[in-house]
């Protein structure tokens, strides 16, 4: 069964450092997303990406965040200068269409900023 894969599973970084979280969406999907989940809280939308550009972003997704699809398979989330409050699980998701279609989530990357 096709799945969304994310690497690494756990990333520990020093405050102020840059991190790149990587995702390989399902191959025939067209819409890609990043979500964040702070420990014990709900899943929050960060950004959606379609046709090689951001289609929507949340208030959380400020200038420190960026996304890229550098080739035909990878989808990355970069945080330029990490803060303690960036510590969370980051989930990548993809879906074949925008409307009434299931979003498939990866297993997540646990980011710990120290």
């Amino acid at each position: 069964e096709p799945e969304v894969t994310q690497t690494p599973s756990h990333q520990v970084t020093q405050m102020g450092q840059e991190v790149i979280l990587r995702c390989v969406p399902i191959s025939n999907h067209l819409y890609f997303y990043w979500y964040r989940q702070i420990l014990g809280q709900k899943v929050e939308f960060l950004v959606s990406f379609y046709n090689n550009e951001i289609s929507e972003k949340s208030e959380i997704f400020d200038d420190q965040f960026s996304v890229e699809r550098p080739d035909g398979s990878n989808f990355t989330l970069k945080i330029r200068s990490t803060k303690l409050e960036d510590s969370a699980m980051y989930f990548c998701a993809s879906r074949p269409g925008q409307g009434d279609t299931e979003a498939f989530f990866g297993q997540g990357t646990r980011l710990t900023v120290v």
């Binding site: 709900k42 899943v43 959606s48 879906r95 409307g99 009434d100 498939f104 989530f105 297993q107």
Partner: protein
């Protein structure tokens, strides 16, 4: 506004009993809803979805009910098993494709 909520943070049931998890949403224009299950350390896993032109949809051991009048969604799990223990989220799909998640209900199944 962007508000999807669940009524109870924790639900404890006996193995074999039926479970009902509730969710309230605020955006009356929403037309597609999804229930996700999240096990510890894993990503959300799709359980079942429902479109606003329906009021009930059944899957294997799960049923979703939608009441648009009161903007209420519920997930019913029949004959709950230990493997059903997880956090359950309802999510509201917006036209832009983003999902707005509720706070989550932790389902604990007692043997």
């Amino acid at each position: 506004g962007e508000n999807v909520g669940l009524h109870l943070p924790t639900l404890s049931v006996q193995e074999g009993d039926n479970s009902i998890i509730n969710c309230a949403y605020s955006n009356s224009a929403s037309d597609y809803f999804i229930w996700y299950k999240q096990e510890s350390g894993k990503g959300p896993q799709f359980i079942i979805d429902i479109r606003s032109n329906m009021d009930k949809r059944q899957g294997q051991r799960v049923t979703v009910l939608l009441n648009k009048t009161v903007k209420h969604l519920s997930l019913q799990i029949a004959a709950t098993q230990p493997g059903d223990s997880a956090v359950y989220f309802c999510a509201e799909n917006r036209n832009t494709g983003k999902l707005i998640f509720g706070q989550g209900t932790t389902l604990q199944v007692k043997p």
